[in-house]
Each structure stands twice: as structure tokens, then as C-alpha cells.
Amino acid sequence: MPEIQVNGQPLNVKAGISVLAALQNQGIWTTRTSVSGEPRGALCGMGVCFECRLQVDGKIQKACQLMVQQGMKVVLDAR
């Protein structure tokens, strides 16, 4: 089982799943805060809406299209 870090906390996740699924399976459905301060979560699941964007290993990426990999560092709600 790969271990990833979410906001600095270690998390063991299933292999072969998306970063988004890994978070959702932890009950984390909010991936970002909108420009007027609303909580937002993934909508399209296929790389179109950008609502799932997160900082992963220092880069803003779409969590729904990114597969988990050992040692990934995920930061929620990064700008």
C-alpha cells in the first residue's frame, strides 16, 4: 500500500486509485475553497471542471486524473 502525505499527515492508500478517490475514501470531499469562500469538491471526475485541483508535490494538479504514488505530498486548499 503506497503511503502519501495529506497536509503533512501520513495516509496509507490503495494502489492504482486516483488521488481524489484516496481523499474521498477518507471522507475528504472538499478539495478547495471558491473565490467567495464556499467549500467545493470534485464535480466531473474526468479532468474537465478543475474543481478537484490540489497542490501535489508542489504543483497544482487535478486530483481526479492523478494516480496515487508512494510518497506524494498533497496539500488541500492551496492556491
Binding site: 481524489l20 471558491s34 464556499e38 469538491g41 466531473c44 471542471c49
Partner: protein, 394 residues
């Protein structure tokens, strides 16, 4: 990099195109996902490519350099022929509460489950329109979710032509989805609103004229599909009624450019496979003669689908003045309504200027307000500036 035949998109159409073309040419197949299969076969382990197909996963196209060259992230990719199989995305229509976490696209939920979301024990409402709703509900149930209701906005009489058009094979397939498939299926039913504290908790809907409240963990909504036209339009392909115009050989208006699957009309898996095969054969000078009659029949199915799931006026009026229409920039309906064209709305409200570049809100504003957006401009996806710079000369 150079491709003899380039196939863009590795869903059913793209895979069929790559296979057919590879009998007579070297093929390069790319997709912005890590795995091939597209929406429908996402994460299927048994997909294989013939030996002379080169597979480029996770390859987002940033733009078009010229009519025979695309810009990938930092790299140029030229081609002799290209087959565009960029598929479709879901049409979302705003209603109060649709921006709450836990409200997902119906296709979105399907994709998330296929990518590892565990829905066992979750209560789910599926709503919107089209055959996708049943497929999503069946998948969620198979994975242990409790699907409370499937709300199809079309009334029963409108669905009949669709049912009649289904082949025996399709009906058998549907039956195999399980006797549970139709449980909770309600035609003539639609959402009114979703609500919850920072997260979805309940939905209110209208089922055959009665207002019903349902508690649920997830709401999956899909009102149909809109084609991903960005790349085709930037390559100069002509449109016909909102889709890429193709002839019987899947050739577009542009020389050397073919298109197959949902970008030429929403018609489902069988049509996508057929068009994929035709485009792959035609682009590599192989005969397609025996496939053309089947293609004609598939065009009729496109029309039937469209008519059976036409949206009722009520679902186009669910958004309230303060309902968000542009999720990236938090533009509300009342703000967008003050403008009679896309450009003015953009300049004054930042509508369509966020990360998704109007992919979600442009179809919404077109349908609800008649604001026609110019199809697309580069970059095709929002991308860091460095990706627009070439590392090497093409």
C-alpha cells in the same frame, strides 16, 4: 516528435481508430488520462494495443502550432493524418445547492468509482436525463451503495422511441445489469434543490408532480453530454449543429483530419466503435464499404437519443438569481443575466475566465441565457506558461 497517424483520445472510438489504422500505418495514440479506455472503459485492465501503436499517456494538448502540429506540454508533435476522438463531457445545469461538495456529475461518479472511490454503504440519488443515469446507478449498486432514486426528467411517453430503438442485444445487456437496475427509476421526475452544511445532506425533488425530500450522502447529476470540440475547432474543422461535421468516411472539412465518436454526435458506444474503425481505415486508405450502411443506422439512433431525452422547460428554470453559474469565478445567475453576449459577461463578471476556461459554464450560459461563446482559444487547457514554450524545435 512525428506521427504518421495520430489518434487523439483513447476511449472506445480512439482505440478502434488506432487498431484499424495500425493495419496499414504506424500510429501514435495519446490521451490526457494515465490509462486508456476513456470514460466507458476507464481502468479496464484488459485493454491491449497492436504492436505498431505508440501509446502516450497523460499527454495534455496545450495548443495548436499549425495545421499539422500540436503542442504537448513543452513538446511539438507533428502528424500526417490525425483522428480526433476527444469525446464528450457532461452537461451540468445549475440548481440551488449544486456547488456543495457531495454533488457530483453522474458520469463524474462513474469515473470516480472506476478510479477507486469506495461507495459501499453510501446513500445516493441519481438525477438528470439519459441512459447514463441507469448505468451509474447499476455500477454504484454493484459496489454496495444504496441508490434511493433515479430521477429521469423525461416523461414516459418521450422515452418510448428510445426503448423501441434499443436492439435485442442492448435489452439483454440492460437485463444483465441486474433485476435491481430499474429499482427507484422514476420518469417525469427532477431535482429542485440540494442542501447541507458545507456538504450535501438532502435533496428536494419533484416526482410525478409530488415534492419529495430525500436524505443522502451523494447526489449524481447528469443532463446529457456536450462534445469536447476545443481541439477540432482550433484545427479549423467546420461544425454542423454543434458537432464536428464529418462525411461517411469520418473526414472533417479539413484535409487530413478525421473525427469519430461523440464529437460528431452523441450516439453511444456502438456508434463510437464503428466510427472509430471507419476513420482508422479511411485515414490509411483501407476500404470501408461494408461499414457504411451500419453508419447510417447509427445516425438514426443519434436522433432518437436526442428526441427521447429533450430537456423539459422546468429543469432550465431551476437556477435562482443567486445560484452560481460559473463555479471557477463564483458568478451568479443574476450577474450573468445582465449581459446579452458572452464577451460582455466575461469582461464584467469574469464569467468563463477561471481554471476550466468556460468548459462548465459556457454550455450552461448558452442554454439558460442564449450567451453564445466563441468556441475556444488557446491554451486548450489552463497550463503553466512554461508548458507553452518549446523545449526543442519542431
Amino acid at each position: 516528435m512525428h506521427a504518421e497517424v495520430l489518434v487523439v483520445g483513447a476511449g472506445p472510438a480512439g482505440l478502434a481508430a488506432a487498431r484499424a489504422a495500425s493495419k496499414n500505418a504506424k500510429v501514435t495514440l495519446l490521451d490526457d488520462n494515465a490509462k486508456m479506455g476513456g470514460q466507458i472503459w476507464r481502468n479496464r485492465p484488459d485493454l491491449k494495443l497492436p504492436a505498431n501503436v505508440q501509446w502516450l499517456p497523460s499527454s495534455g494538448i496545450a495548443g495548436v502550432l499549425d495545421e499539422k502540429t500540436l503542442l504537448l506540454e513543452g513538446k511539438a508533435l507533428s502528424f500526417d493524418q490525425v483522428i480526433l476522438c476527444t469525446g464528450a463531457r457532461e452537461l451540468h445545469l445549475p440548481f440551488p445547492g449544486w456547488t456543495l461538495p457531495g454533488v457530483l456529475g453522474a458520469g463524474g461518479l462513474q469515473a470516480m468509482i472506476k478510479n477507486g472511490l469506495d461507495v459501499a454503504g453510501k446513500t445516493i440519488v441519481v438525477a438528470g436525463s439519459g441512459p447514463l443515469l441507469l448505468a451509474v446507478a447499476a455500477l454504484a449498486r454493484q459496489k454496495g451503495a444504496k441508490v434511493l432514486k433515479i430521477l429521469e426528467q423525461a416523461p414516459t411517453w418521450q422515452l418510448l422511441p428510445f426503448l423501441r430503438a434499443l436492439s435485442a442485444g442492448k435489452i439483454l445487456q440492460a437485463a444483465q445489469m441486474g433485476p435491481q437496475t430499474l429499482l427507484g427509476y422514476n420518469p417525469d421526475a427532477y431535482l429542485l434543490q440540494a442542501s447541507g452544511e458545507g456538504q450535501l445532506q438532502q435533496v428536494i425533488c419533484q416526482i410525478q408532480g409530488k415534492t419529495v425530500q430525500l436524505e443522502c450522502d451523494l447526489l449524481a447529476v447528469g443532463f446529457g453530454l456536450v462534445p469536447n470540440l476545443e481541439l477540432a475547432v482550433q484545427l479549423g474543422c467546420r461544425l454542423d449543429q454543434g458537432f464536428i461535421q464529418v462525411d461517411d468516411t469520418c473526414k472533417t472539412s479539413q484535409k487530413g483530419i478525421y473525427a469519430a465518436g461523440e464529437i460528431t454526435g452523441i450516439g453511444g458506444l456502438d456508434r463510437a466503435l464503428l466510427q472509430g474503425e471507419i476513420s482508422g481505415l479511411a485515414a490509411t486508405n483501407q476500404t470501408i464499404k461494408n461499414l457504411v450502411p451500419r453508419l447510417r443506422a447509427s445516425q438514426r439512433f443519434v436522433r432518437t437519443l436526442k428526441n427521447s431525452f429533450t430537456l423539459r422547460p422546468e429543469v432550465l428554470k431551476l437556477a435562482q438569481p443567486d445560484t452560481i453559474v460559473c463555479r471557477c469565478e463564483d458568478v451568479r445567475l443574476s450577474q450573468a443575466q445582465q449581459h446579452d453576449n458572452w464577451r460582455s459577461a466575461k469582461l464584467h463578471t469574469r464569467l468563463g475566465m477561471g481554471a476550466c476556461q468556460g468548459r462548465t459554464c459556457a454550455p450552461i450560459c448558452q442554454i439558460l441565457l442564449g450567451l453564445d461563446s466563441p468556441q475556444t482559444r488557446p491554451p486548450i487547457f489552463a497550463t503553466p506558461l512554461k508548458n507553452l514554450l518549446l523545449e526543442e524545435e519542431p
